[in-house]
Structure formats: C-alpha cells, structure tokens
C-alpha cells in the first residue's frame, strides 16, 4: 500500500536549534516526494520537491531509498519557520495523485 508517515504530530524547538521533520514512505516504484508547508493564516504551498534537489528557506530534504525516508532538515531554525509541514508522495496510479502524510506542526520558540 502507498503510504506516507510523519510520526511526529508536534515538534517544538528553540530558535537557532537544528530541526528535522521525519517522513517515511511506502511505495513500490520510484518515488517522487515533496514537502508542502502551511504558515498561519496562509495557504498550503510547495516548499520543495526531491527531483529539484533544491534548498528553500534553508531547508533541505534527501531521499533515502534504503530507509524509505525523506526527512526535512534545517540547521538553524527561525521563529518564522513555525508552521504545519506535510510530506507528500506522488502515486502514478489513476493518473497521478499526491498522498499526504498526517502533517507535523513545527513550533520554534524564541
């Protein structure tokens, strides 16, 4: 079964601390993975996708096929990073659909 798991519902860190939001997936093919973010009172928006191998707002995510993980990392968290983060897997069944994880709320304290 295709599935995305974000084991932490809430992650709280202090400003300047490293942060890692965990994401594990289950998919039989070659996965396409994304991180979406929803800041307070804003729309859900794409943060980064693994095919682009990009760093956005200091965040990076590396696909680890051996561990079936796509954890989101940032070396020094900022207060403005506080938001809801969703990991998503693209499933090519039925023309392609995004399967989202349960979301992790990141709270960065001053």
């Amino acid at each position: 079964a295709q599935r995305v798991t974000q084991p932490e519902k809430l992650l709280s860190v202090f400003k300047g601390a490293p942060v890692e939001l965990k994401c594990n997936y289950s998919y039989s093919g070659s996965p396409e993975l994304f991180w979406y973010v929803q800041y307070s009172r804003q729309r859900l928006q794409l943060l980064l996708r693994h095919i682009s191998r990009e760093s956005i707002k200091g965040f990076t995510a590396d696909l680890n096929k051996g561990e079936t993980s796509f954890h989101l990392k940032k070396p020094f968290a900022q207060e403005e990073d506080s938001a809801m983060y969703y990991c998503a897997l693209l499933s090519y069944n039925q023309g392609g659909k995004l399967i989202f994880g349960q979301g992790t709320e990141l709270s960065v304290k001053p």
Partner: protein, 113 residues
C-alpha cells in the same frame, strides 16, 4: 489577484441539507483537485479533473459530486450532509499533473450540525 479562490470560506449547515463549494483558478492550469482535511489535519485527495475530465475519483460517497463547467472551475456539491462531512475542503490546481507544483485555495471550513 487570488490564484485559486474558493467560496464560501465558512459553511455551517444542518444535517441532511445540500450544499455547494465553488472553486476558480485564474492561472490557466489544466488540472484541478479537491482535498479534504479532517479534524486531525490529515489531508486526502477526493477528486482530480484535467481539462474538465475526471481523472481521480477516490473512495468518496456518491453524495459528493464534483462539476467542472470549464477548466478554470471545479465545484463540489454535497447532498444529504452528514456530521462526518465536517472538515476543511481545499481546492487546488496545477499546470499538469501532481508532479507539477500544486496551488491551493484558502479552504472552506464546513461544519455540519
């Protein structure tokens, strides 16, 4: 200029009623979606349309009927509303399929009493 707009923002209604949520995108995208976010913030796809054609239809009760009059609009009609339908419904669009960046609307919070 709002890229993906959905109305209403809030919808409070009684069980058994029929209601619609409208969505419009001005990005010229070919694909539109409806997602449901439950009380635990779990986000799940309901439907996907590409150029007015239904592409994805998840296991959704047939009380939910999407309608796409043109590729810029995807409305969601819900018949005989139930308590369990209470959720936030998000519309989204993308240029192609889900591999492309999805642009989301601000959500419609539906409360069924």
């Amino acid at each position: 200029d709002t890229a993906v707009s959905q109305t209403p923002k809030y919808l409070v209604t009684q069980m058994g009623n029929d209601k619609s949520i409208k969505c419009e995108q001005n990005l010229g995208h070919d694909t539109m979606y409806w997602y449901k976010q439950d009380s635990k913030k779990f986000l799940k796809i309901m439907f996907s349309y590409n150029n007015k054609e239904l592409i994805i239809n998840e296991t959704v009760p047939n009380r939910f009927s999407p309608k796409s009059p043109d590729k810029a609009h995807l409305n969601l009609h819900i018949n005989s509303l139930e308590l369990g339908d209470s959720a936030v419904y998000f519309c989204a669009s993308s240029r192609g399929g889900s591999l492309e960046k999805l642009f989301f609307g601000s959500g419609t919070q539906l409360s069924v009493l």
